[in-house]
Symmetry: C2
Subunit: 407 residues, 2 copies
């Protein structure tokens, strides 16, 4: 398949680059943050609001949509684009992460390395064989089998512009041996996904022009990451994701990126899966990442937290704090979103305390806009050769200290 990614600018002091990803539903300027519409909706927001907030691409979750309402139904209603009325680019993940993470509480955090598995977590609710993953639905406990071919078939039905190969998600603490074996299996699955997809999105389906991205694994082990980057990077995918365990903290995550990116082909877009903290976005861009996605802006919004331009608060403000009760100012004075243009902290504080749905909406919209504006600033800075300036402005430290430049 022809190249879908065009690099338009590079930073001289880091691996950061700007570019454009071309899809059947329009162009995506990178580096990009994509809001997550897990279940065919970016939670609490309309597609128009997401678009007006500046989103150029969103992510949908194959696992959830396969279980409810099902990819066949979505295909009958014009694919995800038609069903949820988002006419811009969409990326669907492979279902792998959720198959492994939604079994019982705690697994998701364990995979990501943030904490040990919950004692009641039953990983044996998921069975992995060479051929397939057998799992039970988080909705009703029903039994399902996902093979690489099935994941691609489901994603064909959903009709996203970018689809992703099916992978196994070994937990952070799986150790070298298991992580290695799992990576090799994911590599074999990657070949099966490519074979199942190449040039074959059935023409009767809503979006025959789907690109397939591959996922690099290898956990926190440098030799595995390099080997996976080289294998997946040269297999013929249209773009690449960095997946699997990204370590137990931010430092380790940046190390994982640093041990991976140098071995990826320069000409393919790189997506760091599930990352969306303000500092992680900037550090990711500096390390050569082009695409990010995360549920955090809407999840934070539902829990009453708003992004603010305040490094000392880690860019987060708990809007339910009593200090905001009588505050007539906007959430963030520098923000241009509908929420900040119209509503006071006092009103938002009140809505959250009163558990009014509008509070969740307004915070979700603000948080998404905030991250999208951050990425727009980053893109503008890259185009104008002043990425280091924006990086330092946000993070309060010079660029380059922790980042190895690529050239």
């Amino acid at each position: 398949m022809t190249a879908i990614f065009l690099i338009t600018a590079r930073d001289e002091r880091s691996r950061a680059r700007a570019g454009v990803v071309q899809t059947a539903h329009g162009a995506v300027r990178t580096p990009v943050f994509m809001p997550v519409g897990t279940r065919a909706t970016v939670k609490s927001l309309t597609p128009d609001e997401v678009r007006d907030a500046g989103a150029e691409i969103i992510l949908g979750n194959t696992y959830h949509l396969y279980l409810q309402p099902g990819h066949e139904l979505i295909a009958r209603h014009g694919g995800l684009h038609g069903f949820m009325r988002w006419d811009g680019p969409i990326l669907t993940d492979s279902g792998g992460f959720q198959v492994f993470s939604l079994v019982y509480g705690g697994i998701a955090d364990e995979i990501k390395g943030r904490r040990p598995a919950h004692p009641t977590a039953q990983r044996d609710m998921v069975k992995v064989t060479e051929d397939a993953v057998i799992f039970r639905s988080y909705l009703d406990g029903s039994r399902h089998v996902f093979t690489p071919e099935r994941s691609i078939e489901v994603q064909h039905g959903l009709g996203a512009d970018i689809i992703v190969n099916f992978d196994e998600l070994p937990p952070f603490r799986a150790g070298y041996e298991y992580t290695h074996a799992s990576m090799l299996r994911t590599h074999r699955w990657a070949e099966r996904c490519l074979a199942a997809h190449r040039g074959r999105t059935p023409a009767h389906l809503p979006n025959p022009a789907q690109y397939l991205f591959g996922i690099v694994h290898g956990g926190v082990f440098p030799d595995l990451r390099r080997s996976s980057a080289e294998f997946i990077g040269n297999l013929g995918f249209d773009g690449l994701c960095i997946g699997g365990s990204l370590g137990g903290d931010k430092t380790q995550m940046y190390e994982v990126v640093d041990m991976t990116v140098p071995y990826l082909p320069d000409g393919l877009a790189r997506h760091l899966l599930g990352v969306g903290d303000v500092d992680d976005l900037l550090e990711g861009v500096a390390r050569g990442i082009d695409m990010f996605d995360c549920v955090s802006p809407t999840r934070l919004g539902r829990h009453g937290t708003a992004h603010v331009r305040d490094r000392d608060r880690r860019w987060k403000l708990h809007v339910g704090n009593a200090a905001l009760r009588d505050d007539p100012g906007p959430l963030d004075a520098s923000c241009t979103c509908y929420t900040c243009r119209n509503f006071s902290r006092a009103y938002l504080h009140y809505l959250l305390r009163a558990k009014e749905l509008l509070g969740i909406r307004l915070l979700s919209l603000h948080n998404i806009t905030f991250l999208l504006n951050l990425m727009a600033d980053v893109r503008a800075a890259l185009a104008e050769g002043r990425f280091a300036e924006v990086y330092e402005e946000w993070l309060g430290k010079p660029l380059g200290k922790d980042v190895t430049p690529e050239h």
Copy 2:
């Protein structure tokens, strides 16, 4: 105070009339339905959405706003208009209904006569004296005292364009004697409210141009309704509400309206409190009602019900019904709302089943638009002398059979 209500058209075959209510925040064309923003938000919707749906006035609930966040705080933030960013007309109720209805489950329905009080209902959580109502907060059980003067003071702080006198809400089954005594006390409170308000909204408060409406009581008893209509109607209020128990079913409610309206001064606007079913709106207009409010469109939306133009379904469709699972059509083919212009029944069905907030939003918006469009049709029909036509079109029966014309 000068007349705020101008009648612009009358129907020849019923008591229906069209008019305009002038307020400091703009004009309201009647007959009008006002969406309810109980707690400074029309649930799940932004003020812009409510305005774009066609709302010219909304209602806020004094009781809830007094308890949280408090009228002093709201006054500091520009009154309800500034706090919630609704720059059109607002009406606040007196707090009476909620003081009496929110004690324990079941009382609200009992007041309205829909069913007997719940056995665990403890009306003694509310104590009524000649001077005041002592009640406990539904939020934290704290003790509060509302006098007529206090209700007016709170409503001055909220700053609605139309405020309402404080009243006692005797239950449907209170009997003649109690209803009579309660009505007389509400009449004395009406005089105190007028005395507390007349020309006296303190100038430092957000909206010094507030109109005060009086509430007619008398339960289901013709002589009490007539006596209350004549007393309240001639006391000097700027407009009138029909409150208290409206009977045990729709027929009895229409009877209560019929036994009240003929004794009200023609020149004052008439608001039937808490009514919003499609047939009740049309029957109310035919009986001379100018203003309606009800939580039903947003409440139905939160429970997965959409208004549809289908008399056989009582204008209601349960969107969670399996029959809608694969339906590509809009909720209502005749509807012009954002939801119907953009989303399929299949998608809305899915959102509700998946318990996604967007489903609630889209249904609430549709339901509000549906009722506002109905009232716009009614107003146009009145202006063009064809109200009977619209009445029959919706209700499937000729106008006039059950309605006594006024002249």
